[in-house]
Symmetry: none
Subunit: 202 residues, 4 copies
Amino acid sequence: MALDTRERVRRAAVKLFAAKGFHGTGIRDLAQESKLSTASLYHYMGSKEELLADIMRDCLRTLLDSATAEVTGVPDPVERLRKLVKLHVRAHARKPRETRIVDHEIHVLTPAARRSVVALRDAYESLWADAVADGVACGAFTTAHPGVTRIALLEMCNGVARWYSPRGSLPLDELAAHYADVALRALGACPQGSAERQSKGE
Amino acid sequence: MALDTRERVRRAAVKLFAAKGFHGTGIRDLAQESKLSTASLYHYMGSKEELLADIMRDCLRTLLDSATAEVTGVPDPVERLRKLVKLHVRAHARKPRETRIVDHEIHVLTPAARRSVVALRDAYESLWADAVADGVACGAFTTAHPGVTRIALLEMCNGVARWYSPRGSLPLDELAAHYADVALRALGACPQGSAERQSKGE
Amino acid sequence: MALDTRERVRRAAVKLFAAKGFHGTGIRDLAQESKLSTASLYHYMGSKEELLADIMRDCLRTLLDSATAEVTGVPDPVERLRKLVKLHVRAHARKPRETRIVDHEIHVLTPAARRSVVALRDAYESLWADAVADGVACGAFTTAHPGVTRIALLEMCNGVARWYSPRGSLPLDELAAHYADVALRALGACPQGSAERQSKGE
Amino acid sequence: MALDTRERVRRAAVKLFAAKGFHGTGIRDLAQESKLSTASLYHYMGSKEELLADIMRDCLRTLLDSATAEVTGVPDPVERLRKLVKLHVRAHARKPRETRIVDHEIHVLTPAARRSVVALRDAYESLWADAVADGVACGAFTTAHPGVTRIALLEMCNGVARWYSPRGSLPLDELAAHYADVALRALGACPQGSAERQSKGE
DNA sequence: TATGAATGAGGGTTCATTCAT
DNA sequence: CATGAATGAACCCTCATTCAT
């Protein structure tokens, strides 16, 4: 039925856009991967670019919504940042292709589509910015350049999508916790009894 | 003379590949940006893909050579890593387009070309790996997962190429020093008298 | 009921074929204008081309039938031609889109369909030819080249479909009468007491 | 050399657009008729539509220029109109395909291109309008509806492009003269010693 | 050195039509 | 009666590349 097919197209696009890039993926590649003719493809998408924009927006909206849910009502900025980092790492490890597409293909979007995507990304990043700012304000974080550090950490976490494999030795939850520790260290939060030290058995 | 023209082509390619991606850049774009006809372009390059591979290899070779020079004969792993991070950040801030191309377009390359590029990248990254391993071995670094941390830090530093602007408020040297501090904190090196604390006036 | 829908499809086709041409009109356009799905369209027409041929034949048959009725039993060739011109002008003014389609899209038709359309057109034009020939034979028309004049007048009258608007200042009956006068002048019939002179107040 | 090829493409387009319509002519048809590949076609034209617009503009400009030259400095409106009709008929008989394209395919053009074509057509038609108006003003023409008559005559003359064949019995010059006589009769100009009567031997 | 001309292959998209439901 | 789904063929146009001059 229609929904399944639409989903098949979506997945084909995610796979190929992530592997070969948007411009490196032809409509015929998408059709083959979706097991559809090129003409049929157009029953399930507006255009190649709209398909891309949809993928990006869905990915970012999911991330934004779950991050907002995770963080709402958490007063401690340290705890908030820890949650954000963990969620971010998990999301990027579980959906590496979607997130890589978001990271790499923004430049192909039409200005209008780009605006909508960037708006979502900015909304998400502001959750990080708030946590960092609050932590600095209350003295929990001691970093000379909070803005730079925030973006550095974001890039670090984005990187997970580029290398993580579920076949690695480190369970995902531990990986996420490790990233959170690295982030808090980077921000100069005194790690009292963090998972990091625990995992070292101290 | 020929060399100048060749350089013009190279720079056009760097500009366009970074801005629109390899597949998003046509030879007509390259010709226009180089102020050459498309046919003339082929006096100065083998093919579009060879041009890309050349750019990538040159970028990586330069990075590898200068990193090797910087690090050779430095016994202290902390100091070595600090130098590596600073160099990396500076290189990515100064040549953001080349380094972004290296990061984003590897999937485009033919297996043969990809191998040569990946070999250079691996050689470079092994300098980081050695420093981290030495630091862990001598107890200077206290991180539960050195391998993961190393790759996390590399991704963090690569990110500089995606956002750094010389018009930012932070001088590049300070930025590089800040990144080095973040990296050492992340690795759990006790930062004694680091630039970070100095810049906070302590 | 089905008949209404069929008529809706017909009218959509007339509108669009006249405005954008047969090849410029897609079945999706037809479906949209008919408020039907493209698939449903095929319940009311054989194919796009058959729809076109039907429109043409209906238009020509109506013209032929009413002209035949108008002219039968009128012995005076001058009067006959006057009636033919008036009818022709009125028909083209009232159904400009159908007649434009007949004029412009014959080349689209398959040979078989074209033959049936051309046969109707020829039958109609022979009414004109007979009137002109009779008029020349009895001395009522004094034109050096009756055949050429006939076709020239036909083209002139066809043109009405290309510019007439009911919002123009001249009532349609007067317009038709004027065309009849022009035609008779062109044929060299001494206009005695024609509408033309009357309208000039003489 | 380039000029020849460009001209070959032009002629192929004129032939095919006239025979099958703009939308009925594919780029592959043009290529085949031009003995070029579809890709090579684009060395000699901007796009299919630009090719069409160029053909239309050239046709109209030629007509406008020669009509202007013909008519300038001719004070007698009767003589002016005779010259205009003759020129128009000759032009449409000699370039029937170009003029049919102008007449039939204007609706295809983009608004911008259409404006430029319509402007030329209007400039040309104003030569006719001036002659008619002058003739009416000085009493040389006695028609109840000069505007309508003018457009009727134009359509009549345009029709030449739809049926004239050089293999017909009437020499082109005589045909043109005949049309001029028909036109002047239609306008109610007393034909004194016109070609029409001469050809009848009176 | 430089480029106009040329092209086979492929780009994304729409075509008119059919058919199972 | 009506339509979503499906498609092979074709749409216009651009691709990276070669070669004669």
